[in-house]
């Protein structure tokens, strides 16, 4: 209980501190933080699905990428209003999430993980094969723009991330979250406590896909471009997983910390070019050795 109230304090602190960023840091860093907010939602959604529902998901970008690309392609090829494109992308992302429910009910642990990994490769391949529509490896530009104002964009991402964090924290600590954790621990036992776990798996995948897909859609609209390296590639998957682990799994708020840590660190290490990936990974490992429960444990203690 004590841990939970501390988590809430950390949550409020993160969003208050970041909330003043546009008046403190350079506009470029504001842009970087804007992206970090969207990225933090990817990490939170992953944490909800893996940390709470126990689904070994090595392919969060399958949902994210589907949401992002469908939004982009709708916007590029139709005259639908931007809101509809975003909704369309999010729905596509949820469908992508539901596609994984069937294997998730049959396979466990690393076997399911493999399926999710394959789904990411498959999506990447499709994008490359249909390069005339998707722009292939390079990516495509998206004409739609919500707003050109950097500060508005920042607060849009800020608010979206905060609302997602609140929503997911509520879910994680609700009866629903408890049942999800019970089915993760032992599906048969959970079912023997009268829970129809199929229903809960469907829900967990939908919720995770809803947030990550929506975040992917908003991110690419903000950037005005979508590419494999932004929302699909395995490097993104790794970044999401590393962020969650560094931040502190199964806390929802920990992943937000982790996301910021990774994105800002990479920004700071940008002069190192390609080497920065390696340095980030090594620093991540060091953090993990010193704080096995993630950065969040600095604030809430060992769990």
């Amino acid at each position: 209980m004590l841990g939970k109230s501390k988590l809430i304090i950390v949550f409020i602190a993160i969003f208050l501190i970041t909330g003043v960023a546009p008046w403190v840091v350079s506009p470029y860093i504001v842009g970087v933080i804007t992206m970090a907010f969207y990225f933090s939602v990817f990490v939170m959604s992953w944490d909800l699905l893996f940390g709470y529902s126990g689904e070994v998901n090595f392919g969060p970008t399958f949902q994210i990428g589907t949401g992002a690309y469908v939004t982009a392609l709708l916007n590029l090829n139709t005259s639908l209003p931007i809101g509809i494109c975003i909704i369309g992308g999010t729905v596509a992302s949820i469908i992508a999430g539901l596609v994984l429910v069937a294997p998730a009910l049959r396979l466990r642990g690393p076997y399911f993980g493999l399926i999710t990994l394959v789904s990411v490769f498959l999506l990447g391949e499709m994008i490359t094969i249909f390069a005339q529509y998707t722009g292939g490896e390079i990516g495509i530009s998206i004409p739609a723009i919500i707003t050109t104002n950097q500060i508005t964009n920042f607060y849009l991402a800020w608010g979206f991330s905060a609302i997602s964090a609140i929503a997911m924290t509520i879910i994680a600590n609700s009866p629903l979250g408890l049942i999800l954790q019970a089915s993760a621990q032992d599906p048969q036992e959970a079912e023997s406590l009268k829970f129809n776990i199929t229903k809960y798996k469907i829900l967990a995948f939908s919720v995770s896909a809803l947030f990550s897909g929506l975040s992917g859609a908003l991110l690419v609209i903000y950037l005005g471009t979508v590419s494999v390296s932004l929302v699909v590639s395995i490097a993104v998957v790794l970044q999401i997983i590393i962020s969650a682990i560094i931040g502190g799994r199964r806390t929802i708020i920990g992943p937000v910390l982790g996301a910021f840590f990774i994105i800002l660190l990479r920004q700071w290490l940008q002069p190192l070019e390609q080497l920065s990936y390696a340095v980030v990974s090594i620093l991540g490992l060091i953090v993990l050795m010193l704080l096995p429960d993630g950065l969040i444990s600095i604030f809430v203690g060992k769990r």
Binding site: A13, I17, V24, V25, S26, P27, Y28, I29, V30, G31, V32, T128, I129, A131, Q132, G135, G136, E137, I138, G139, I140, S141, I142, P143, I145, T148, Q150, L223, G224, T225, V226, S227, S229, L230, L264, Q267, W268, E273, I298, F299
Partner: protein, 403 residues
């Protein structure tokens, strides 16, 4: 204590990331390019050479130009990030570069958002200027210092009409790599070739990641064309080598971007003998500035410039002139000055199309102003074969190609 640590951590990060943004006196210009690619490197080299020359002569009204060079790793997202960084952290007057249309198109909304001039010196998609034409108020920041794909196709057709008439070629096969810029290119090929009496016997597009061209060539051979018309930028080397080794009996004419620079002979081990490609410039008397430019460039980089070198070199001078004329770096005034460009550069006499043109802010393509050139590899040398006033040699047909 723990909270204090976090605060120190955040403040530290913020400090480090903002410290680069100190106000500077020179005129900052950003180059976003694909380092490690032929054209991308030429863009960077062309810019550096121009800046070196301009600054040696006292800069722009006494202010030196300072270049900020970003590698986008051929990723639209990296380019977008670089664009933001250039504007926010380095306060650049303009961003120049990228030869990939997808990337240029992704940068356009950011040029509009951040009210920053963006001149692409390599991307050929006509969609780039179409945006300026359709929504001038929003996209007036964008210029295309490069013939667009439609004009490139026209150059190829004009060349075939002017220089290959004697050989009575009748049929052609169009094969381009699949990318944003080759769509309008192919469309224009299919339109202009019949007009000059060449029948298109086949058309195919292949992935830029293709590594095995055997199935593609066997399709082409089946149609037995006289000429293979190309749109190649990511690819080119492998097709060229295979064509040479199998002694395929058709002439290769079109865009083969990698073949437009001197080291392609070595790279292809001489297989490029006879290849004909369009380019924005060449070591030929296109204007009086061209040959001196190529000489300085070669001296500095040990290679002749790929097309991005010509365009970016000119872009840098055009920008410097515009700043001189506008006497300010105010964006709106600078745009006006750029629109009024009337400058003889290394690639020709450059003017921009007005906003009423569908190619608004693209280079005016016209005989007497600027048209680009056609080059051919002959005996290890890259000769200019078209237009006649700039030609350094006559077209030559490789022995295994039908005449």
């Amino acid at each position: 204590m723990r909270y204090l640590k976090l605060l120190v951590f955040i403040v530290g990060l913020v400090f480090i990331s903002t410290s680069a943004a100190l106000a500077v006196r020179p005129i900052n210009v950003a180059i976003i390019a694909e380092e490690g690619t032929l054209v991308g490197d030429a863009i960077v080299n062309g810019a550096k050479l121009a800046v070196k020359q301009i600054n040696a002569k006292g800069g722009v009204d006494g202010k030196p130009i300072k270049l900020f060079i970003y590698d986008d790793h051929m990723k639209a997202t990296d380019a977008v990030q670089a664009f933001q960084r250039a504007v926010y952290d380095h306060h650049v007057v303009a961003v120049i570069g990228s030869w990939i249309s997808e990337i240029a198109l992704s940068l356009e909304p950011w040029a509009a958002r951040l009210h920053t001039i963006y001149i692409t010196t390599g991307a050929a998609s006509p969609k780039i200027t179409e945006k300026v034409h359709k929504n001038y108020r929003r996209y007036k920041y964008i210029f295309q210092l490069k013939y667009n794909a439609i004009e490139m196709a026209k150059t190829v057709c004009n060349f075939i009409h002017d220089d290959l008439a004697n050989y009575h070629y009748k049929t052609a096969y169009v094969a381009s790599e699949n990318a944003a810029w080759t769509q309008p290119l192919d469309e224009e090929y299919l339109k202009c070739l019949p007009k000059i009496g060449i029948k298109v016997v086949g058309h195919l597009r292949f992935s830029p990641n293709t590594t095995d061209f055997t199935p593609i060539f066997s399709k082409i051979k089946a149609k037995n064309p006289d000429i293979l018309i190309t749109g190649w930028a990511h690819t080119g080397l492998q097709e060229t080598v295979q064509w040479h080794e199998e002694k395929l009996p058709f002439l290769i004419v079109g865009i083969n971007a990698q073949a437009s620079t001197s080291d392609f002979w070595k790279k292809s081990n001489g297989a490029t003998e006879g290849i004909i490609t369009q380019a924005e410039g060449s070591p030929a008397p296109i204007t009086s500035k061209t040959i001196p430019f190529v000489k300085s460039y070669e001296k500095m980089y040990n290679i002749t410039p790929a097309y991005g070198g010509y365009t970016t070199y000119d872009a840098m001078y055009i920008l410097a002139n515009a700043i001189k004329k506008a006497k300010t770096t105010n964006t709106n005034k600078l745009i006006k000055a750029l629109e009024a460009t009337n400058y003889v550069g290394v690639m020709g006499h450059i003017k921009f199309y007005p906003k009423s043109s569908p190619f608004a802010h693209g280079i005016v393509y016209k005989k007497g102003l600027a048209t680009g050139v056609m080059l051919q590899w002959q005996h290890g040398k890259l000769e200019t074969v078209w237009p006649s006033y700039a030609a350094t040699a006559k077209v030559f047909i490789p022995p295994f190609v039908k005449k």
